[in-house]
Amino acid sequence: MRHKIIPLFFLFSPLLLSGCASTPLRGTGDMGLIIERAAGSVQIVETTHRTRLGQVPGLGDLSHASVNYSRDERYAYVFGRDGGLTKVDMLEMRIVKRVMQSGNSIGGAISQDGRLVAVANYTPGGVKIFDAETLDLVANIPAIDDAGKSSKVIGLVDAPGNRFVFSLFESGEIWVADMRVAAKPVVTKFKGIGKEPYDAMITGDGRYYLAGLFGEDGLAMLDLWNVQAGVKRVLNGYGKGEQKLPVYKMPHLEGWAATGNELLVPAVGRHEVLVIDQNKWTEAGRIPVHGQPVFVVARPDNRQVWVNFAFPDNDTVQVIDIASRAIVKTLKPGKAVLHMEFTPRGEQVWVSVRDDNRVEIYDAETFEKVSELPADKPSGIFFTPRAHRTGQ
């Protein structure tokens, strides 16, 4: 009988009731972060009712910031341009830990087992690897080539087998770091992969790593199921003989649309989205678009792809229908559209409009604007289900 009295006592305790009211239980699967790049803060949002839950300040220079999530979707790891790595508690909406791990960084990745967080650095170039729990430094991989020169590291992703894959901008190399013994990374280097890899992605199955080249037209591809075969060139010289336009914003490959048989990627310095046949690794077509694409993001059902553009065409978003390769919608959300993030099953898409200080939310089927939220110079939008996707 006693065990029934105790729960009753707790149920009627005023202390417990007030405690419940201020911190209701909730999951984090419908939550996300919006980077407020100039203010150095992040907004915590939820996509079910499309509301702002709170704001966390004090994250430093967040230009070009990106986010990875812990596997329980409780914690966000925010990578800032100023080398800051910040662990944010999504529920308590506060900074758990923050380390200044380099002078200048570009992005990060979380390992397959969720125990390691890696950061790609520009100054000094290399990858630093931290314990995801404590943010203690576990390993350091300086990006020094055979000639002793340091390179900026870009395109850092996680891969199956607890590996990290990344590219060296100046020396044109792809490195694969096997982290099975965390303190002793085993690094395999692929040299001469092409001139100035500027960003990279890994397909959702974790098999193909592709680095876009800025210094020449083409992509460098590594098949992680067959690393012995080395790095192959894909779409070599896709714009040969054509005048490349000046590039006012580097394209991103993080959101590359992989639709199963085809990859859609931004062309560098061209008003085109390139279609790659994923079986033959050849060009399957080009889709003329409004400007130079920055993000080319597939709706989660892979039926349509949303594209935003570099300055001075960054007021526009276009939607491409995959089957027909036709542009089915052109939207003008506002000044400086920087990023697009779909809700987990893709019924809505959130669009950040930097210079208009807001995030717009669209119905991904009808293209109607559903809602908007104020935000201070918003850039990246990152929803927690990324926790369970390789390369994100």
Binding site: A38, D61, H64, D82, N104, I106, M250, R354, D355
Partner: protein, 100 residues
């Protein structure tokens, strides 16, 4: 001399400063769009740092030229489609002084 100024109308200095509204636009452009590569605090990124310390001793004319024409062999694009020479000169000026 007269012909020269007519055929090259522009290398403007303080006498043709952008108006305050345009200055605000330019400042936003420098912080946000230049900041995409050079960092929001201009401490550098894919592009070199553009802080007063980093630019110390560099000729304003050469910096103006870099902004307007870009630097071949690097990702730095020419901004002349979007900026007049006077505006580029104004930007160099605020970069050398440090952003407000």
């Amino acid at each position: 001399m007269l012909l020269f100024t007519i055929s090259f109308p522009g290398p403007a200095r303080a006498d043709s400063m952008p108006n305050p509204a345009r200055q605000a636009e330019l400042l936003n452009l420098v912080r946000q769009d230049c900041g995409s590569c050079h960092g929001l605090t201009l401490a550098g990124g894919l592009g070199l740092p553009l802080t007063p310390e980093a630019l110390k001793g560099k000729s304003p004319e050469a910096l103006e030229e870099t902004i307007l024409r870009g630097r071949s062999g690097t990702p730095m694009p020419p901004w002349s489609p979007f900026l007049t020479e006077a505006e580029a000169a104004w930007i160099v000026d605020i970069l050398l002084k440090g952003l407000p």
